[in-house]
């Protein structure tokens, strides 16, 4: 007998249909019959009926009594019924497609939303242009092609761009939050990608939780993306990505030190700044990360704070502090403070502690023989080095295009021959004008 006609199958089917139908009815009755019973006037003077049903509590600055819901999430706060109120609503106001109407609206973060669209975290311009240059598709690595261009339908394709779409395309701010499966779901989301941390305020009446919006960007938000290529987010914490065997074994089982994406790591010497309690945003300032509105091709053009900014001595720090206190323009650092003893220290944005800033040694760092060495050339004892990096392309197989969110033909897979953490290889970098007169000795990494 056909299994689909067996009595047991029919009984199961009947139960399934009945419960589904009842659930559907219940859902409909909730969305049609429920009406807002409470009208709230927020501190900003807006009338909101959303708060009649919603009890989530955001952070203080975006508090429910201050802004209500619709300032950020749009919709119709005066509708009174869920169906009407939720029309045109936005779940993630930080999404760059809508941020101008939400986070970036007049009176809020207008400039920041304009600027952020031009930064490398949104454009990925450096990755795209370097990839195309590497693969011989362009004659230099400064082309202005961005993620925003690539997400437009029918943008011209190439092998390098297909590779970017399939393998690199999850680490940019245009990625809609929760659009990807697994650990990638937490990536992207525009402003929310960074300014979001685990709620630390009490949940609403029914246990609802609102994302906690913060300026104190947790390091995990940065490392969610900055853990591949140079692996800087891992190295900073003293995590070395080991080979994929799960060694060293623990009690006969694979190592428990595993990243969300399945890569195994081992703990080794972390960065001294991490040991002292500093997080990414202590050195990488707002303008450096969110930009000044100007589009740049590479991270080294966007970086403002250098080692010598903090370790250049008290005279340099005094000038920086005076500039910070004058509030004329955006300071390079905004966490310098006058410390006891007349010195200037860095106040940790996360730990709130005062960190003394020791100057570099003139005798050791500025002697004639070594004056061209970058600080990193001597003070970076190790770097992950991936040898024999290569990729396989299978034209006939499909893979998810992370920009269009569709499966398309062409499947890429990355391989490496071996990976080591070792003292870095050094090489020479000409100055920005291409002059060889005073080249800088810098770190090279194999690709």
């Amino acid at each position: 007998m056909c299994p689909l006609l067996s009595p047991l199958f029919l009984v199961v089917l009947l139960i399934f249909l009945t419960t589904t139908f009842h659930s559907a009815l219940a859902a409909v009755s909730i969305t049609t019959s429920k009406k807002a019973t409470k009208v709230t006037k927020t501190l900003s003077g807006r009338i909101e009926m959303c708060l009649s049903c919603h009890h989530e509590r955001p952070d203080k600055a975006h508090g429910r009594d201050v802004l209500g819901c619709s300032v950020c999430h749009l919709g119709n706060p005066l509708a009174g019924t869920p169906f009407e109120a939720h029309k045109g609503m936005i779940l993630n106001p930080g999404d760059l497609r809508v941020a101008q109407k939400t986070c970036g609206q007049e009176g809020c973060h207008v400039e920041q939303v304009k600027d952020i669209k031009n930064t490398l975290m949104s454009t990925n311009r450096g990755i795209i242009s370097t990839l195309r240059y590497y693969w011989g598709e362009t004659d230099d690595n400064n082309h202005a092609l961005t993620v925003e261009d690539l997400i437009k339908p029918d943008h011209p394709q190439s092998l390098a761009l297909d590779y970017f779409r399939k393998l690199c395309g999850t680490c940019h701010l245009w990625l809609p939050r929760n659009s990807m499966p697994g650990f990638i779901a937490e990536k992207g989301g525009g402003c929310t990608a960074c300014h979001n941390k685990k709620p630390k305020v009490a949940p609403g009446k029914k246990g609802e939780r609102h994302p906690y919006i913060t300026r104190d960007i947790p390091m995990e938000n940065c490392v969610r993306c900055h853990n591949r290529s140079g692996r800087i987010g891992l190295s900073y914490q003293g995590l070395y990505e080991s080979e994929g065997y799960g060694t060293p074994y623990e009690d006969g089982e694979l190592s428990a030190q595993e990243l969300p994406d399945g890569r195994f790591v081992q703990k080794i010497q972390p960065d001294i700044h991490y040991e002292k309690g500093l997080v990414c945003i202590d050195c990488h300032s707002q303008k450096e990360l969110m930009g000044d509105g100007r589009q740049r091709a590479h991270f080294y053009q966007q970086v403002e704070v250098r080692c010598t900014t903090c370790h250049g001595g008290q005279q340099t720090l005094k000038k920086l502090l005076a500039y910070q206190e004058s509030k004329k323009k955006f300071p390079m650092l905004n966490n310098l403070v006058a410390a006891p003893g007349g010195t200037i220290a860095l106040k940790g944005k996360h730990d709130g502690k005062l960190h003394p800033l020791k100057p570099f040694s003139e005798a050791k760092c500025r002697n004639q023989q070594h004056e061209n060495l970058s600080c990193q050339a001597c003070h970076s004892p190790w770097v992950p080095q991936c040898y024999g990096c290569h990729v396989r392309y299978q034209r006939g197989e499909k893979q998810l295009d992370k920009l269009s969110l569709k499966e398309t033909f062409g499947n890429w897979k990355e391989f490496r021959s071996y990976m080591r953490f070792e003292s870095p290889v050094l090489g020479v970098l000409k100055d920005e004008k291409g002059h060889e007169a005073s080249p800088e000795v810098v770190i090279l990494v194999p690709g």
Binding site: G233, S235, C378, P381, V425, V428, P446
Partner: protein, 128 residues
């Protein structure tokens, strides 16, 4: 790049001046061929089965200063032959003149040719 593995202490002199890996030549050892000539013996071999590659995966440059890899940033290159020679020669003096506090190292100029002192002559086989 900045590897974000900063340490307060710096790398030791030998780590650059006597380490072919740091200089981009790959794993192996330096040897002295005369007063001012040196050679490099790699400890890895070319894997000829690897997509027809004719070079070692650990090398950025050969001893003649010819770059072996294409780096992703214009203006970025491995050390050239002159620079390699200048750095390696310091390494042969480091067993005796260990750091920048040493008078020989203090007065070292960029293009100094190592003085053939007795120890150096013995080390390099110029003298028994």
């Amino acid at each position: 790049m900045d590897p974000h593995s900063t340490s307060s202490g710096a790398r030791q002199c030998l780590d650059c001046h006597a380490n072919p890996k740091t200089l981009g030549l790959g794993y192996g050892s330096f040897y002295q061929e005369g007063a001012n000539s040196w050679g490099f013996e790699p400890s890895c071999w070319v894997n000829k089965d690897l997509f027809g590659q004719k070079r070692r995966l650990d090398a950025f440059v050969d001893t003649e200063g010819n770059p072996l890899v294409h780096l992703g940033r214009p203006g970025l290159r491995p050390f050239n032959k002159r620079e390699l020679g200048r750095i390696v020669k310091v390494g042969f003096c480091l067993p005796c003149h260990k750091n920048m506090e040493d008078p020989v190292m203090k007065s070292w100029k960029k293009d100094t040719q190592p003085t053939p002192c007795t120890a150096y002559r013995k080390l390099t086989g110029m003298e028994d």
